[in-house]
């Protein structure tokens, strides 16, 4: 472009043949189709492998049966306790996460001075970067023990532990999506409200948050999706007893989730047995639940988008009408308060419940009578407290792992093989294995992902096909990682005969990060101003010339950021490689892609759950894993800041 004015190229160089253009566009279309086809293929494959169970055992006994004992004679495959367990843990996690996240999002976008904001935001992103197996490790060693001592319970492995841990893990998702929603409320609304003499808090509560409510709703649903689909952390702290807690408010009861069941039993099941098919049927149920949740979120976000661009007079969501109607606006708060009272009552007895009820009643009487200035002070105080809690959680996790992990780090630890089941020796093969898995998965996903995004943004912006593709990408994005693992096991390991191998793990991880790459690339391409494309096309450049020379260069930092994020995600994941690629102990490095590998997250998982007396090496492994992932994310943040891309981590 820059040289176009000084050098006049001969016409033949600019006009490339139409055949080549068509061929290129078909390549991108195929990439995009690959994404959709994969989703439907995964779905069909799971259903197909689950079908024998429905035929032999029946759909109703499966969904409504209260006993899950697959190894008894006769076996029972009732997943009701598992569904209840999933729902309870998820609901509990939202009680933990929603108030903290919304307060933090409000703080970040409305209250925080710039200098504090640039410190808090990376902290929240760091929380997102910690691998789930590390959360599980921390939960099992610290949180569960703390609960056991505090509540004098026989074991801390409980619904409460799962809820707290999942709540922490859902924080970053809810915070970042809500913050985006609040940020996108036009500045004019704030100015309009302040200019009328409303206080800052009144403006936030009555104008900004209501205007952002759809986005916040979507954020909560996305956080829920994350909580439902999480496997490793939940598996490690919930105790995994397949029972329905009694009474249902007994948060110290152990529970077992759908994902946890897959994580525990898939590795030990006899292939082709009824139990095997039951697990696929269970995965189908899990997938359907997450699909519904994620479709709900993306529908809300789409409608929000349509409203923001003035294309539709969108109606309100249920949540919005509840919050906005004066008579019912206090109902959700009252409901949560009652729930808290019930839980406190079931843990501590009627006296505690009475005391809690009294506190709620006093608050309900006092708060509405505060002056405007006082209620602003109170609200900001609560917001500061919530942000403080979020930062404290991060600090505790990091301090615990760093302070106990540092002594384990040594040159020998990083460069030698494990001995005595990992109690002694190092983690070298696990580091190499993780790097190989990540490199392979990106090599597989990057071309498809970038190609699909180019097709979606540059060739077809909006028609039925692209909408189907986008929905496919959304679904793929919301699919729990354990489901990828299951699919990889059944299709790659067994059906294609790869065996438990590096290649199977790479492809499985690649499928998992594909949606991240597609989405970040799409965003990066959309941020390139249309005028650049028009300028290039007006000079007689073809579409592909325009994309290659004018659109891709400024989009490159965004695409690279997306790639780095995917690397971080792939490095920390355990569930997808659990049955497809990893072994616990391996003396030699893999010699081909068909050999199994060791991997850091899996190594940490086994050390934590199966090898007593490996304290130092556990913490050392956790620290190395965190450092690896955080280093990868740090690179992404630097790239993002350097090029001022507006990518969300």
């Amino acid at each position: 472009m820059n040289q176009a004015s000084s050098v006049t190229p001969p016409p033949t160089r600019m006009s490339s043949s139409p055949l080549k253009e068509t061929a290129i566009s078909i390549i991108w279309l195929l990439c995009a189709l690959f994404a959709v086809v994969t989703v439907f293929f995964i779905l069909l494959y799971l259903v197909w492998d689950g079908l024998p169970l429905f035929n032999e055992y029946g759909l109703w006994p499966f969904l409504a049966g209260v006993t899950w004992s697959p190894t008894f004679d006769p076996p029972a495959f009732g997943i009701l306790p598992l569904i209840v367990g999933t729902l309870l843990v998820t609901a509990g996690s939202m009680v933990v996460a929603v108030p903290l996240s919304i307060a933090t999002a409000i703080y970040l976008s409305e209250v925080a001075p710039y200098r504090v904001k640039v410190l808090v935001k990376p902290a929240v992103e760091l929380l997102a970067g910690i691998p789930s197996v590390v959360y599980g490790f921390f939960g099992l060693i610290v949180l569960v023990e703390w609960l056991r001592v505090t509540f004098d319970a026989p074991s801390g492995e409980s619904m409460l532990a799962g809820s707290i841990l999942l709540g922490i893990m859902a924080l970053p998702t809810i915070i970042s999506v809500s913050e985006d929603a609040i940020n996108s409320v036009p500045r004019e609304f704030r100015e309009g409200s302040l200019a009328l003499g409303a206080t800052r808090w009144q403006t936030i509560r009555q104008v900004v948050v209501p205007a952002a409510l759809s986005g916040i709703t979507a954020a909560i649903i996305l956080g829920m999706g994350r909580a439902i689909g999480e496997t490793m952390a939940v598996l490690m702290v919930t105790g995994n007893a397949a029972i329905i807690p009694s009474p249902i408010t007994n948060v110290l009861s152990p529970v077992r989730t759908l994902t946890g069941t897959l994580g525990i039993e898939m590795g030990e099941v006899a292939i082709g047995s009824l139990h095997y098919h039951a697990l696929f049927a269970l995965a189908t149920v899990l997938l359907v639940i997450t699909l519904i949740v994620n479709l709900g979120a993306s529908m809300i976000l789409k409608r929000l988008n349509a409203r923001a661009t003035g294309r539709a007079h969108a109606g309100r969501t249920v949540l919005e009408s509840i919050f906005r109607h004066p008579a019912t606006s206090a109902a959700p708060i009252a409901l949560v308060a009652l729930l808290v009272v019930a839980v406190i009552g079931s843990m501590g007895g009627p006296y505690y419940a009475g005391a809690a009820l009294l506190v709620v009643a006093v608050l309900a009487l006092v708060v509405p009578r505060l002056s405007r200035a006082r209620s602003q002070q109170l609200a900001f105080l609560l917001i500061y407290a919530a942000v403080g809690a979020v930062l404290l959680i991060l600090a505790i996790i990091l301090f615990d792992i760093i302070s106990k992990g540092l002594p384990a780090l040594s040159w020998e630890f990083l460069t030698s093989s494990p001995r005595d089941l990992g109690r002694e020796g190092g983690i070298f093969p696990a580091i190499v294995g993780t790097l190989c898995l990540v490199a392979g998965s990106i090599a597989f996903a990057l071309p498809f992902g970038v190609g699909a995004a180019i097709y979606l943004v540059e060739y077809q912006r909006d028609n039925r096909l692209t909408r189907t593709i986008r929905t496919g990408v959304d679904l793929l994005n919301g699919t729990p990682s354990i489901v990828f693992g299951l699919f990889g096991f059944a299709f790659l390991v067994l059906f294609l005969g790869f065996g438990v191998s590096m290649l199977a793990g790479q492809i499985t991880l690649g499928l998992m990060v594909l949606p991240t790459i597609i989405r970040t690339t799409e965003e990066a391409l959309k941020n390139v101003p249309q005028s650049l494309r028009e300028g290039s096309l007006a000079l007689g450049a073809t579409r592909w010339q325009t994309i290659g020379r004018v659109v891709l260069p400024p989009a490159a930092p965004g695409i690279i950021t997306g790639m780095i994020l995917s690397i971080g995600r792939a490095a920390g994941e355990t569930a997808p490689i659990l049955f497809t690629a990893v072994v616990f102990s391996q003396r030699y490095l893999p010699s081909s892609v068909f050999d199994p590998v060791m991997a850091l997250p899996y190594h940490l998982f086994i050390l934590t759950t199966n090898v007593p007396g490996s304290e130092t090496n556990k913490y050392g492994t956790a620290l190395v894993l965190i450092m690896l992932v955080v280093a990868i994310y740090a690179v992404a943040i630097v790239v993002r800041n350097r090029y001022h891309t507006t990518m969300r981590l």
Binding site: G192, G197, A198, Q206, H313
Partner: protein, 255 residues
């Protein structure tokens, strides 16, 4: 010359910086009560910045620094003890682009009284009706008070924003190029409205449009590069400007 009206807003030696850039230089102006005062001048001359000093909207700009005084009824509004919320209640503002909240028409107008503690439905109904009538929007809006304000036309939205401002019963209404996003018919309606408003309110309007300034205002201030070059009765400023710069701008030789 008519009797000199009381001064409601006064600035003395006002200097303002956005980071390193000085946007206002030694501005001293006395705005008469219950009159329409227009601020004119080329883009970037500081008109809107000056306007935003009057209700301290510049507080929202993070690297903004102010020297000198802005007084409202004789009290310095930049004093740290001054209640900015109270100031903005008394000194209302209408923005360049209509910015109704994504609420119903009724809720938009009732928003101000509500945040100031009015809960009585009957009173709110009355305030809403009175404000909409004063903003000349009642006849068009009375049957659709429960509809979203975003469904109104641009001109209607701007009158709604004016009604919203009136509903908190301010003394002063600041208007920052209120017609620049509107068509000529909507503009004429707003101009008529401004004429009616000065019976009860002090209006300060920033405008790019010199015909508009001469049509609606009693006093005019001409600003250039952050300085208030000339301030006086509109007739005098337009017919017999004292400064050469003003004359050149008004006759269209630059700007």
């Amino acid at each position: 010359m008519a009797t000199i009206p009381e001064q409601i807003i006064e600035t003395r030696g006002l200097n303002l910086w956005y980071g390193p850039c000085q946007a206002l230089i030694d501005v001293s102006i006395s705005v008469p009560a219950r009159r329409v005062t227009a601020l004119i001048g080329p883009s970037g001359c500081g008109k809107s910045t000056l306007l935003r000093c009057f209700n301290r909207m510049n507080d929202l700009v993070s690297d903004c620094r102010i020297e000198g005084t802005v007084s409202y009824h004789g009290t310095d509004v930049n004093d740290s003890a001054y209640d900015v919320v109270e100031l903005r209640k008394r000194v209302g503002m209408v923005f360049q682009k209509p910015n109704p909240f994504p609420k119903t028409i009724y809720d938009n107008v009732a928003y101000g009284p509500r945040v100031h503690g009015e809960k009585d439905r009957a009173k709110l109904d009355e305030i809403v009706e009175r404000s909409l009538r004063r903003a000349a929007l009642w006849d068009e809006a009375k049957d659709r008070l429960g509809d979203s304000a975003l469904g109104l036309s641009g001109g209607q939205q701007q009158r709604l924003c004016i009604a919203r401002t009136l509903a908190v019963e301010p003394d002063v209404i600041l208007m920052d190029e209120p017609c620049s996003a509107l068509d000529p018919i909507a503009t004429a309606k707003i101009e008529n409205l401004i004429d009616d408003l000065k019976e009860h309110y002090t209006v300060i309007i920033v405008t790019h449009n010199m015909q508009q300034a001469s049509r609606v205002s009693d006093y005019t201030g001409f600003m250039y590069l952050g300085e208030l070059v000339e301030f006086g009765e509109t007739l005098q400023v337009f017919e017999a400007p004292k400064e050469a710069l003003t004359e050149r701008y008004i006759t269209g030789r630059f700007g």
